[in-house]
């Protein structure tokens, strides 16, 4: 039924609409990519915290064991 929505639109107008939608989509994709990159840069800014986390491998293992034991109960 959705296709009837555009039945009354002229071909010229339809082409214009497609072109405009494509442009909007490209802009949206660009914005999404920019946000992803910004998030990645912001995550890298916290590298010191990630290094600290990587240093506590034993603590990570203990956390994991506790979680498994908690699940069992």
């Amino acid at each position: 039924m959705a296709q009837n929505e555009y039945e009354d639109i002229s071909t010229k107008k339809l082409k214009k609409l497609i072109s405009r939608t494509e442009k909007t989509l490209a802009k949206l994709q660009e914005e999404l990519e920019k946000r992803n990159l910004d998030d990645q840069h912001s995550e890298i800014d916290h590298l010191e915290e990630h290094i600290d986390e990587a240093e506590h491998s034993l603590a990570n293992f203990v956390t994991f064991l506790k979680e498994i034991l908690a699940d069992k109960r």
Partner: protein
């Protein structure tokens, strides 16, 4: 007002500069000790085996046994740099290169335990754990795959040992038979070796060489651990810049960035462990993390190369050969596996599947760690001996 703030800031800045200088001096001293200790292991092993090192390591002539020794030793001390440096020292002491090659390959697998354990810390959040565990185990899958491809080829045709031997021949020479351009290292490290040799003799004359090996291994382990800790502090800023620059670029940049960061911090475990929380948060995708971990494999080979410069004399060429085998193996594995689209996808597919299973059933992750790094190698040792 400006004067007050300037007067307040300067002493702090001077203090920071002083601390940085001291930290770099400590790194230089530790590198010196690391190189000396490799020489100690070589001398101790040569003396203890009286030139019959190959007899002592007869049990490891089975390549699978060598591989398992490499996996277990590295998984237990969580440092491939330490294990490969010890292997360089052992080769300098007479361990045949052919016996050492599978050990080097095993060290590559064993080192992946560290980032896998780091990923276990994300267990409380299911999605995060799935992503983190996949990011950690993609390194495992890649390294196991590299062994599956390269070990049989090496057993049959020895391409790695041959290439390493050829390249080592280009670099080793001169009157002292040491790495060209590094002829000063032997006289520089000899005083430390002499001190520990005397100390070993004082403790027990009959077990002096064994004690020298123990001292060497202890110093290597401590030096590499402390170098890693210091370089993490000193290089975190540089690592950030490298990673910021790598964002949005292709996988080749990722591989190079991973390699450079690993060289800077002298630890592949640090680089690969850093990737785990980045993937866990969901901000970085597994596809983006994967090349960094491969670069870490290549970057970590620098430590063994550095260790090889300590050796002079007839076995210097073999010490450099095994260090170069480590480098060639890792570069070849990246070129072959990552360079071939079908092979490239396999470690990612395996890691994603395992991540999903482990997130649904957490004990699977525990069985995986204990199984891959300890139980399977242990059972294989048992089977090989019967």
């Amino acid at each position: 007002m400006a004067e007050t703030s300037q007067a307040g800031a300067n002493p702090l800045s001077t203090q920071n500069t002083l601390i940085t200088i001291l930290q770099w001096l400590a790194v230089a001293t530790l590198v010196y000790l690391l190189i000396s200790s490799v020489g100690m292991i070589g001398a101790g092993f040569k003396g203890a085996t009286k030139g019959q090192a190959s007899d002592l390591f007869q049990f490891a002539t089975n390549p699978f046994m060598g591989l398992i020794i490499g996996i277990l030793a590295t998984a237990m001390i969580q440092s491939s740099s330490t294990v490969t440096s010890i292997i360089v020292g052992l080769v300098a002491g007479g361990l045949p290169v052919e016996t050492a090659v599978p050990m080097i390959m095993g060290a590559n697998i064993g080192t992946t335990i560290t980032n896998t354990i780091v990923s276990l810390g994300h267990v409380r959040r299911k999605k995060e754990f799935r992503r983190a565990f996949a990011a950690a185990t993609v390194h495992d899958f890649f390294n196991v795959m590299a062994v599956v491809i390269f070990l049989p080829i090496e057993i049959l045709f020895h391409p790695l040992a041959t290439a390493g031997g050829y390249l080592a021949g280009l670099f080793v020479g001169g009157e002292n038979m040491s790495v060209k351009g590094f002829n000063f290292i032997k006289p520089a490290t000899q005083p430390v070796i002499d001190v520990f040799t005397s100390l070993s003799q004082m403790i027990s004359d009959s077990a002096a060489y064994i004690l020298l090996i123990i001292f060497g291994i202890t110093i290597i382990f401590m030096a590499i651990t402390m170098i890693g800790k210091l370089l993490k502090k000193l290089m975190v800023g540089r690592a950030k810049v490298i990673m910021h620059n790598a964002i949005g670029k292709g996988p080749v940049t990722g591989i190079f960035s991973g390699m450079i960061i690993t060289i800077l911090v002298q630890s592949s475990s640090t680089t690969t462990s850093l990737m785990v929380p980045l993937a866990g948060s969901g901000v970085f995708r597994l596809k983006q993390i994967y090349p960094f971990t491969l670069g870490a494999n290549i970057g970590t080979t620098v430590t063994a190369l550095l260790a090889a410069t300590a050796i002079s004399g007839a076995t210097a060429i073999f010490a450099l050969q095994i260090a170069l085998v480590h480098l060639i193996y890792n570069v070849a594995a990246v070129l072959l596996i990552y360079g071939t689209p079908i092979l490239r996808r396999l470690p990612m597919a395996g890691a994603l599947a395992l991540g999903k299973i482990a997130a649904k059933n957490k004990p699977v992750a525990l069985f995986y760690v204990l199984g891959v790094f300890f139980a399977v190698p242990g059972v294989l040792i048992f089977i090989t001996n019967f």
